[in-house]
């Protein structure tokens, strides 16, 4: 002890506190272990003191504005002391301020309420050093990031080191290099790889892997029977050559690039031509564009020598972020946009979280705050100021291209970008010189000024060149890891966007480096990398292992790859597979995205009703999911339920959840039911094509299995399938019967059923002496429709249509009003018996239009325009042509969750996508357009029924038939194909079950 306490004896009285602190923390006891005074050897400093200072003190006590004015990175700084005076008291070393504050636990300061006081051993170390006069090796400067320690990575962190091509460890003959690395790790843990998966499993796995859609039964069987020893390689090449490959793999990149078609925030404006970027990615992958070019074009496609339309489209990468046209403070917002660009670029290409260094040096990685601003300077001269007109981008003139969502610098010589203390705009520290980050000292490079006359700063190009420098180890490791991850489900580094200290360490570091160097020697060809991986035994092994249970104990996470990982289909593959199974999948590539049908309930979340979501026509919705339009404020629920990632931030790996809402979607969502029904029709239609089975039902079951699961059913499954068909036929028949017999109640259950009558019991006459007429609601809650203005009342005509009464509207100001709301949602059926006597101009039967209330484009109405064009709201302005215009008709307009239809006399005139997003809280009128004071009906209206749902066709038809008899209007007889037979629906039910099965959802 007590070389130390001898000195303490001389302490003045005020040191007692210090002494007791020492005793409390047990420092003295520990000190007994020390045998000798610290030597002034530099090695001692490097071994004991430098790590301590770096780990505990330097985070704050460094740089141009060190905490308390004390810089602890150099001898000069230490000697100079801080705001409170000397750090080391050269007379009374033991009273040194530095030591006192540490021993008292004041320093390092507590964090989140937790003391950061130094452990006793470190306190001892520090005290010994100070008592020895705090010797500091000459010219030694401490670098916060010089070495990795237990709390953060230094510049010696593994991912920052050069890639040294390792030799595959096992030299066995003909062993695939990947297997050599993997087998070596398995050997070390006494694990055996799983056996190779069977050929049928492999071919399905490969199709999903490369194309994202399953093989057909025939494709599976043809591969299974292929005796060619090179069959596997040939299949890989064939699939890599398919355009479907790019459509599958581009989606992964779009996640990384935070792709969406709109800006987000209040107005959530469309990002015009974002889809061209998406198509560029698909094409780049299909053409196997070398990865360095892929990077350079996205970051600097406008700056490269041979810039062209395509490379400028690639810069859309920089335009895809969210964009707020009304930020709280536009000045501050520029810095938020910089962060988006820094973050997306650095996590996409480098696997580094540089954004964490916006306010201070990175907490965990060798990234200084200055690095953040160096990196950001590449984007500083771009359109990061909020210019509403151009949606946060350059104008067409600035970009030099029309109809491109691209990026370019706005000025070639921007104002300096300052490092901001704590990231706060009002605390600029110093102008940052554009340069690479400093994390890899051997690669650190200052960026040059642009050549004279340049329109841009050339900083993005220099950044891209730095990223793609052959010696940049991160860029290559990161992409190789991404590719591995999408083949295997998990990466070698399982945090694909983060290769820093907080990342998951690589499972096979040597393999990662070997792949990286192989990738470089292949000319950065992604397709070559795919081939390399797919031909390995590691990829081809079974997802089942005979020793699974015991191996799970050793390596539950399968980090050594002793088996393949079973994977659930992602949202896109699932949707595409259902379309593929039903034979409906459209392979139409490129172009603007389609808008998926979104249920009305999900649309309620939109604030801006004017930005109506109008789903695309059904045939466009049959395209692959990568072509789905993604609106940030309204992502399609079916996709998010299956873990489509939020497109705000770069996403390297999607979540993989198992939740009951997924089951609900697959059981009940109409998309799934439509695919099942289509598939059932397809199977029934293919009757002639396959006569191998003895009965129809057998054949159907067999076909269902083949088309959904690409294999025939087993005998047992066949029996189950047959039983299911039989049970469902009975149950569906029963249900249909119940619906049919329930018609009376359903029919008498419209929310509005208007029949003509004399105005208030014959007492009123219109001005010309004829009887004024109105409607009487005979549905639940009867009431009389009113019109206070006598001149505006229609006349009652007792025998007009088929001898039945009707109201005659003059076409000149006559109409009726219904106060209040009728419908809660736009799902409805409107049936009118009427006769048109006009033949031109807009004229309405029923409407809730009210411009002042804000529904000028979102009202619901039914009427005619021109000679005989039917209008069913503004969303369906051409809803068919009325036939036999001079005769009375029964006009039915139905609007469901998926489609809208118009029938005349039971004959289908129009079928379109569902009408959505209507404003329904305004009053209704009959015979005019809302409160517009015009568009009057001229002719007769005899009866109107409104239902608050889309009636099933049988019910609608039954009502039309009854009306037809009453008004002597001939309705089209029901045709057989319009009502689905129980046989068809039972088969659809079977198909749906198969599409819900784990076998369908998972790839072995």
């Amino acid at each position: 002890m007590f070389g130390v306490s001898n000195q303490m004896m001389h302490l003045p009285a005020n040191a007692t506190i210090y002494l007791s602190a020492l005793l409390l923390t047990g420092v003295l006891a520990c000190a007994t272990a020390a045998q000798s005074q610290p030597s002034d050897d530099d090695a001692y400093f490097d071994e004991h003191i430098a790590p301590l200072l770096i780990r505990r003190c330097v985070e704050c006590h460094q740089g141009t504005d060190p905490a308390g004015g004390l810089d602890l990175t150099s001898q000069a700084g230490l000697a100079q002391g801080g705001d409170l005076g000397e750090a080391i008291d050269s007379i009374k070393l033991i009273e040194s301020h530095l030591l006192e504050r540490v021993v008292s636990g004041e320093m390092p300061p507590e964090q989140q309420g937790k003391s950061q006081a130094l452990p006793a051993a470190e306190q001892t170390e520090l005290r010994r050093w100070i008592l020895a006069g705090a010797p500091w090796p000459e010219n030694r400067t401490l670098d916060y990031f010089e070495k990795t320690n237990e709390v953060r990575a230094g510049r010696d962190w593994w991912s920052l080191q050069p890639i040294d091509r390792p030799d595959p460890p096992l030299k066995a003959e003909s062993i695939h290099p990947i297997d050599s690395f993997v087998q070596n790790r398995l050997d070390q843990h006494n694990l055996e790889p799983a056996p190779k998966a069977d050929r049928r499993t492999l071919v399905r796995r490969l199709y999903y892997d490369l194309l994202g859609i399953p093989p057909s039964y025939e494709q599976v069987e043809s591969f299974a029977a292929d005796k060619d020893p090179r069959a596997w390689e040939k299949l890989i090449d064939n699939l890599l050559a398919s355009p479907q490959y790019g459509q599958r793999w581009a989606r992964y990149w779009l996640d990384v690039a935070r792709y969406a078609d709109t800006s987000g925030y209040e107005r959530d404006q469309e990002k015009p031509f974002a889809w061209k970027y998406r198509d560029w990615v698909v094409d780049a992958l299909n053409n196997d564009m070398p990865y360095d070019q892929f990077i350079v074009q996205q970051l600097a496609g406008d700056e490269i020598e041979d810039a062209d339309l395509s490379s400028v489209i690639a810069t859309g990468f920089l335009r895809l972020g969210t964009w707020n046209d009304e930020p709280n403070d536009p000045q501050d917002y520029q810095y938020d946009r910089l962060e988006d660009l820094v973050h997306t670029t650095s996590s996409a290409f480098l696997g580094l979280t540089i954004k964490c260094a916006r306010c201070h040096d990175h907490k965990f990685d060798a990234i200084t705050q200055e690095d953040y601003y160096r990196f950001a300077s590449a984007f500083w001269s771009g359109p990061i100021q909020s210019v509403r007109k151009n949606l946060g981008g350059p104008s067409e003139e600035q970009l030099g291209y029309k109809e491109v969502l691209g990026w370019t610098d706005i000025v070639a010589k921007p104002k300096a970008l300052f490092l901001l203390k704590n990231g706060e705009r009002k605390q600029p520290m110093f102008a940052v010189q554009p340069a690479s980050i400093s994390s890899i000292p051997d690669l650190e490079a200052k960026f040059a000024s642009p050549p004279s006359g340049s329109k841009t700063t050339s900083l993005r190009l220099q950044l891209a060149n730095w990223l793609t420098h052959r010696d940049n180890p991160l860029t290559t490791r990161v992409i190789v890891n991404r590719v591995w991850q999408h083949h295997f489900g998990k990466g070698i580094v399982r945090t694909p966007n983060n290769f820093g200290f907080m990342a998951d360490p690589p499972t096979h570091p040597l393999l990662l480096d070997w792949l990286a160097s192989e990738f470089l020697s292949s000319g950065q060809s992604l397709k070559s990398l795919h081939r390399l991986i797919l031909t390995s035994d590691t990829w081809q092994q079974s997802s089942l292992h005979p020793e699974q249970a015991s191996y799970e104990q050793i390596d539950a996470g399968n980090r050594y790859w002793w088996r393949f990982e079973r994977q659930r289909l992602d949202a896109e593959a699932l949707r595409d597979s259902m379309l593929q199974a039903s034979g409906e999948l459209s392979l139409e590539p490129n172009g603007p995205g389609f808008k998926a049908s979104i249920p009305a309930a999900a649309l309620e979340g939109l604030s801006r009703k004017a930005s109506v979501w109008q789903a695309s026509p059904e045939n466009e919705q049959l395209r692959r999911s990568i072509y789905m339009y993604l609106k940030r404020g309204l992502l399609p629920p079916m996709m998010t339920t299956f873990d489509l990632c939020d497109p705000t931030l770069s996403c390297g790996k999607r979540d993989d959840t198992v939740v009951p809402t997924q089951a609900l979607a697959l059981l009940n969502n109409s998309f799934v039911h439509r695919r099942s029904r289509r598939l059932a029709i397809k199977i029934q239609d293919s009757k002639q094509a396959d006569s191998s089975d003895s009965t129809d039902s057998y054949r159907e079951v067999r076909q269902a299995w083949k088309l959904v699961l690409s294999r025939p059913p087993t005998e047992h499954e066949k029996e189950l399938g047959l039983q299911h068909l039989q049970m469902q036929q009975e149950l569906i028949q029963k249900q249909q019967h119940a619906e049919a017999t329930g018609q009376e109640t359903i029919k008498s259950n419209p929310i509005l059923h208007l029949v003509p009558n004399r105005y208030k019991g014959r007492e009123q006459t219109s001005l010309d002496g004829s009887a004024a007429g109105t409607f009487e609601n005979v549905a639940k809650d009867p009431f009389w429709v009113f019109q206070d203005d006598a001149t505006a009342r229609p006349t009652f005509s007792s025998a007009s249509i088929g001898g039945q009464p009707a109201l005659r509207f003059s076409g000149n100001g006559q109409y009726l009003k219904i106060q209040g709301k009728l419908l809660d949602s736009p799902e409805c059926t409107i049936i009118c018996v009427a006769k048109d006597e006009s033949g031109n101009g807009n004229r309405e039967l029923i409407s809730n239009w009210n411009g002042a209330a804000g529904n000028s484009t979102q009202s619901l109405f039914l009427g005619l325009t021109g000679e005989n064009t039917i209008r069913f709201s503004d969303a369906a302005p051409q809803a068919g042509l009325l036939r036999k215009r001079d005769q009375a008709f029964i006009l039915s307009a139905t609007n469901g969750t998926e489609k809208s239809q118009v029938h005349q006399n039971s004959q289908l005139l129009y079928s379109g996508s569902a009408i959505q997003n209507r404003r329904l809280d305004t009053d209704w009128v009959i015979g005019t357009q809302g409160n517009i004071g015009g568009e009057y009906w001229k002719g007769l209206i005899a009866e109107i029924l409104v239902f608050d749902r889309a009636l099933p066709s049988e019910q609608r038809r039954a009502i039309e038939q009854e009306l037809g008899e009453r008004y002597r209007i001939e309705t089209q007889a029901a045709t057989a194909e319009q009502v689905d037979s129980p046989e068809l629906l039972a088969l659809a039910s079977l198909c749906q079950v198969l599409m819900n099965s784990n076998e369908f959802l998972y790839v072995d």
């Binding site: 989140q112 309420g113 925030y265 959530d268 969210t322 009304e326 709280n328 979280t353 965990f364 990685d365 399982r494 945090t495 966007n497 907080m502 998951d504 089942l544 699974q548 249970a549 079973r566 309930a601 309620e604 979340g605 604030s607 801006r608 940030r632 992502l635 629920p637 873990d643 939020d646 705000t648 931030l649 979540d655 993989d656 959840t657 198992v658 939740v659 009951p660 809402t661 997924q662 089951a663 609900l664 979607a665 059981l667 009940n668 969502n669 109409s670 039911h673 499954e717 189950l720 399938g721 299911h724 469902q728 569906i732 249900q735 749906q992 079950v993 819900n996 099965s997 784990n998 998972y1002």
Partner: protein
């Protein structure tokens, strides 16, 4: 390497929920627990393995956030400023700096449009916009010194819900469910009910789970019929027929599973179908007000104008609280401008429309919760995304512009101190000056009341431990009894 972290640096809470335990699903956790997957239980987390444990004893099991979308005016509702009468017609003193949101006309100081009166034994002042709520004055803990980070609806709403003005982060409800789980596996843990007039500006990101799994997202509930999506298939599939489908599915999946031993995700999915089948009846039941007595319906104003809609939502909120739903958010006002509390055109015309829609329903909710003994364990929060200016938008103009510098919100239930005003704005009600409560402080306090420590409730994302309050936020303990 930091201790106690699972592969990929997820803590157990993160891991469990990622594997599917957000919405209703405890399936996989069950299995994993049976397999003793979690042998290493961390401090602060439940060893039962089903629900993550709170950090400390929770005061509230559930939270109902009554969101007054569009921003009510504090000086007309809960922040009485007699000085405004004195200075009426004068301009705001020139030394006050503020952003004039939307570049509107700057008018003159204008006193409250309706009279303030004291309520309850506490004598808390509440204006005549909320006469029924005033009867509950002794339950209200009014915070008069709120301030936030944006003057624009879009970003301020997102901030109110997620802590930051930039979209893409998990919302308060998501954090609550992430931290505490849901006690009813048949219902979502975080329910959002919108105003019929539309959603809030910025839409989905307001109830998004951001970078957390989608399981934590708010689920939109419709107030009648099927509250959530995909509860019913086509009519020809009766319940019996669907049962038949599930029977076949079970048989196929059972065989598939048997051939794939150890396939935990397969087992979890099999179980998820049973949950889904049950949810088809349990979720509509939760919103089925037929089960409520007429006197209850009358108390909430259900079936009457103008209280019908918010009344229904408040009543449903109580039913959801009874069923263990963790976080319920009810929007009043939807769409834009006068459809919300955004009273540019006139305080009286606007608040005179919206306040009567919610006054009786909210009062009924407080009464009902108390009568059922639920108020002690339910935190009720009321407020908008910011406040409004004490001055008009022009000479004799009756409206007020946005004001993020000072506004009022109130808490009730869960043992918060009732009948008090906490903090204050300046004499004109322009900015918070005393005991200021930043939005993040409010968030920290709400989490605290629910048993969560805002500094330790973190989710590791892209190199950083993210939290609701980030580097800000402090628990305002003076609000708690």
């Amino acid at each position: 390497m930091p201790p106690n972290l699972f592969p990929c640096r997820q803590n157990r809470r993160e891991f469990v929920w990622q594997m599917g335990c957000g919405f209703a699903g405890l399936a996989l956790t069950d299995l994993l627990c049976q397999d003793q997957f979690f042998s290493d239980i961390q401090a602060g987390e439940s060893s039962a393995g089903l629900l993550p444990a709170p950090h400390f004893a929770p005061r509230a099991k559930s939270c109902i956030f009554l969101t007054m979308n569009g921003a009510p005016s504090q000086v007309d509702t809960f922040d009485y400023k007699p000085e405004l009468e004195k200075y009426a017609g004068k301009q705001l003193p020139g030394d006050k700096e503020y952003i004039n949101s939307g570049g509107r006309k700057i008018g003159y100081l204008t006193p409250a449009f309706r009279k303030f009166r004291s309520g309850g034994e506490s004598g808390l002042l509440v204006s005549d916009y909320f006469p029924k709520l005033r009867q509950h004055a002794d339950k209200l803990c009014v915070i008069n010194s709120c301030h936030t980070d944006s003057h624009a609806h879009g970003s301020a709403l997102v901030a109110m819900n997620t802590g930051k003005t930039l979209i893409g982060r998990p919302s308060l409800g998501s954090w609550s469910v992430y931290g505490l789980g849901s006690e009813n596996e048949d219902l979502p843990g975080y329910v959002v009910m919108l105003d019929k007039r539309g959603g809030p500006i910025s839409g989905q990101p307001n109830w998004s789970s951001g970078f957390m799994p989608g399981t934590y997202s708010g689920t939109l509930f419709r107030p009648s019929g099927d509250p959530i999506l995909d509860l019913r298939g086509p009519e020809y599939i009766s319940r019996d027929a669907q049962r038949e489908q599930l029977n076949l599915l079970d048989q196929l999946n059972a065989k598939h599973f048997a051939e794939r031993p150890g396939g935990q995700e397969l087992a979890a999915r099999i179980k998820s179908y049973e949950l889904a089948f049950r949810m088809q009846s349990s979720t509509p039941e939760a919103v089925d007000l037929e089960q409520e007595s007429q006197s209850t319906l009358d108390m909430y104003g259900v079936g009457k104008r103008p209280t019908n809609e918010y009344g229904r939502n408040c009543l449903i909120a109580r039913r959801l609280v009874e069923r263990g739903v963790r976080f319920i958010q009810l929007y009043s006002g939807g769409g834009h401008l006068e459809e919300t509390w955004d009273a540019h055109a006139g305080i009286e015309s606007n608040h005179g429309t919206h306040a009567p829609e919610v006054d009786q329903p909210i009062a009924a909710l407080l009464t009902d919760l108390q009568q059922r003994g639920l108020l002690d364990e339910t935190l009720v929060v009321w407020g908008g995304e910011f406040g409004r200016m004490p001055f008009s938008e022009g000479k004799n103009a009756p409206g007020r512009n946005h004001n993020p510098y000072g506004y009022s919100m109130w808490l009730a239930g869960a043992g918060v101190r009732g009948g008090i005003n906490y903090g204050s704005t300046d004499e004109l009600g322009f900015e918070a000056v005393e005991n200021k409560v930043h939005l993040s402080d409010l968030h920290a306090t709400i989490l605290y009341i629910m048993g969560l420590d805002h500094e330790h409730l973190t989710y590791f994302h892209q190199g950083r431990k993210e939290s609701l309050t980030d580097v800000r936020g402090r628990v305002v303990k003076s609000l708690l009894g």
